[in-house]
């Protein structure tokens, strides 16, 4: 697919414009740039901000798409799923229990090989009620064939949405992709964002071509047939194979992104911060990167060599690469903004995955899990320092590599 793209050299393309926008607005702008055909919506905080920006773009005439406000998330996700099957580029999104209410549709979307792009404005699952960020909503689909990516800035939200279309709609993949944006911290915070020109986006993102899987009278196929034990396992294997191809396609997309937009994200799968000489590192996803970076700068002034690895792509999970990177340090602390009750070592989801990734690695430093910032509670700089202390203790072998809840009233 990449080879087929005739890309004019970058300087001939119109320049970026800088806008002060929120993470949610950045996603809406990406929908406009990607010229999405069908968008469905159903309000729930904090995702609802995206649908409102989209509605504005539609009514201003800036975005020519079918925009349907459904009667619930279940219908919302069903509508776009089938629009995608007939060849439309689609966008959808939700938060917290809204995402969970769509779960039946979410489970079948990868199996039907629908390249839906969705935004999850991460939110705690009610009850008890909370609007704040927690990652369990998006993580709930982690086993089903959704590609999952976490971003930590409005710029990254916009760019990643474009990359998500490129990857999801690649014929080798045809799997949905959800972009997670931390509720409030990213969805509602403004930042200066370089909005690329339509021309550049055109050069980067080909038309969605459903090809042989297009549901059309000229191409009579059955979507979602009843296959039972005769074929289900083969279909699962095909979906798995598509996910296995995803890392290479993601790499290609980021390489092309850099070539066309002139902005680089380095390693697509995870970002390293001050890791070169680090003794210990923290690992996490989403906007907790901000307090972590501040704390690291403080601690470095005090002579502590601490680094940070921010995981972007959770599915596919870059296990070997991450294990090789983390093997360089004396100890690793994984910060989860989620929980996985009853899991090994009572950890969060990310810590459990990191441990699994490390097992076959030649160097296996001790791993401490932290659960922090649930329900929108702030991950503070002192909290990061406290976690780092524990990681140092683990490096010295004085603490058991278990799980600690940080910033908790006890």
């Amino acid at each position: 697919m990449t080879e087929a793209l005739a890309t004019p050299p970058q300087k001939q393309l119109a320049a970026d414009k800088t806008s002060l926008i929120t993470g949610s607005e950045a996603i809406a702008v990406a929908c406009k740039l990607a010229d999405v055909d069908v968008i469905t919506a159903y309000p729930i905080r904090p995702y609802d901000t995206v649908m409102q920006y989209v509605a504005k773009l539609v009514s201003n005439g800036e975005l020519d798409c079918e925009y349907i406000v459904a009667e619930s998330e279940h219908s919302q996700f069903e509508i776009v799923k089938h629009a995608s099957a007939v060849g439309a580029r689609v966008f959808c999104g939700s938060s917290g229990v809204g995402w969970m209410y769509a779960f039946e549709a979410l489970t079948v979307t990868p199996a039907l090989r629908i390249p839906m792009v969705a935004m999850v404005g991460n939110r705690a699952l009610d009850d008890p009620g909370a609007f704040g960020v927690e990652h369990n909503d998006a993580l709930a689909v982690r086993d089903l064939g959704w590609q999952l990516v976490w971003v930590d800035s409005a710029q990254e939200a916009l760019d990643t949405a474009l990359i998500a279309y490129r990857v999801a709609e690649d014929r080798r993949i045809f799997l949905p992709c959800a972009i997670s944006c931390d509720g409030a911290f990213l969805t509602h915070s403004q930042a200066l964002v370089k909005v690329p020109s339509q021309e550049k986006v055109k050069a980067f993102l080909p038309r969605y071509d459903r090809g042989d899987l297009l549901l059309h009278p000229d191409n009579p196929i059955t979507v979602a047939p009843q296959v039972n034990e005769d074929w289900l396992m083969e279909i699962r294997r095909q979906t798995a194979a598509a996910m296995d191809r995803s890392p290479a396609v993601i790499r290609e997309a980021y390489a092309d992104f850099e070539r066309i937009f002139g902005r680089s994200y380095g390693n697509p799968f995870f970002e390293e911060y001050q890791t070169e000489d680090a003794d210990v590192v923290l690992v996490g996803m989403g906007t907790l990167s901000n307090p972590v970076r501040v704390a690291i700068r403080q601690m470095r002034q005090e002579g502590k060599k601490v680094g940070f690895v921010r995981v972007r792509w959770f599915r596919p999970f870059a296990a070997e690469e991450l294990a090789a990177t983390l093997g360089r340090f004396k100890a690793v602390g994984v910060i989860d903004r989620d929980f996985s009750l009853g899991s090994p070592y009572r950890s969060g989801v990310l810590a459990t995955e990191v441990r699994a990734a490390m097992y076959p690695a030649p160097n296996r430093p001790p791993i401490v899990g932290f659960i922090c910032g649930l329900g929108g509670r702030e991950v503070t700089v002192p909290a990061v320092r406290e976690m780092t202390e524990s990681v140092y203790l683990a490096a010295e072998g004085t603490t058991q590599p278990g799980t600690k809840w940080i910033g908790l009233r006890e």
Binding site: P43, Q52, K56, V58, V69, E71, S72, D127
Partner: protein
Amino acid sequence: MNAFLAPNDYKSPLKPIWCPGCGDYGVLQALYRALSAVGRPPHEIAFISGIGCSSRIPGYTTAYGFNTLHGRALPIAQGVKLANPDLLVIVAGGDGDGFSIGGGHVPHVIRRNVDLTYLVMDNQVYGLTKGQLSPTSPRGLKTVTSPMGSLEQPINPLLTVLAYGAGFVAQATPADMPGMTALIEEAIRYPGFSFVNIQSPCITFGEEDQQLKAHKARMKPLASLGHDPANQLAALDLARAYGTELYTGVFYRNPSPPPTYDALVRQRQVELQKGEPRSRSRVLDGYLKA
């Protein structure tokens, strides 16, 4: 029976956080009065709601309350009623909660005829999520999700509920407090599923012609039209005017209410055991031990 309970006995110490001027304040006051008139003590009342501004209402009463999930109040209320049929079960929520995300439950609770009172605070908008289109929003309504005006025909809650076969259907507005109080009381007393569509204005996101002042000018009591609430066909005909006319009062009251689901379940238990119905303490004991 209990000693006299004043409206204030149903008032919880929690202060409502609705916007000043929200119609839901009036609904709450009318509810206190209606509950006092019915006279069941708060601990014998279960008040179930979904999610929305309106769904906050149980917390402002001294009854047992369950502020459930968006759209799920009706099935949860049915569970409560069937587990403990002696409770007075009231369900409340918004037009969105009841007629979009939770709309699938409405026909089934009605055809089962579970003895519940369902109060929908219909403000033609999603209030809590800050003013998006709701299923009862009039066509052409401009909101954050429909900046050029809604293209969709609204649901008619009165006609829908009547068509599903509800035995008691009424409409009220806080612009007529004594009328609304009497209707809520009557709905509670009706033996079977009862529904009151309350036109409760959203002062923050609602339209000018949906506010109390406009209601006062527009409302027409059905009684003044000579409507006979036993006449289901006439009720259906009048309900068609939802969205254009603001009729208040009882559209339909089944003159010979059929047995409720809870009564039928008890009867079945008696038949199966050829004796007394099983005491519900078994259910509760099991729960308490768990």
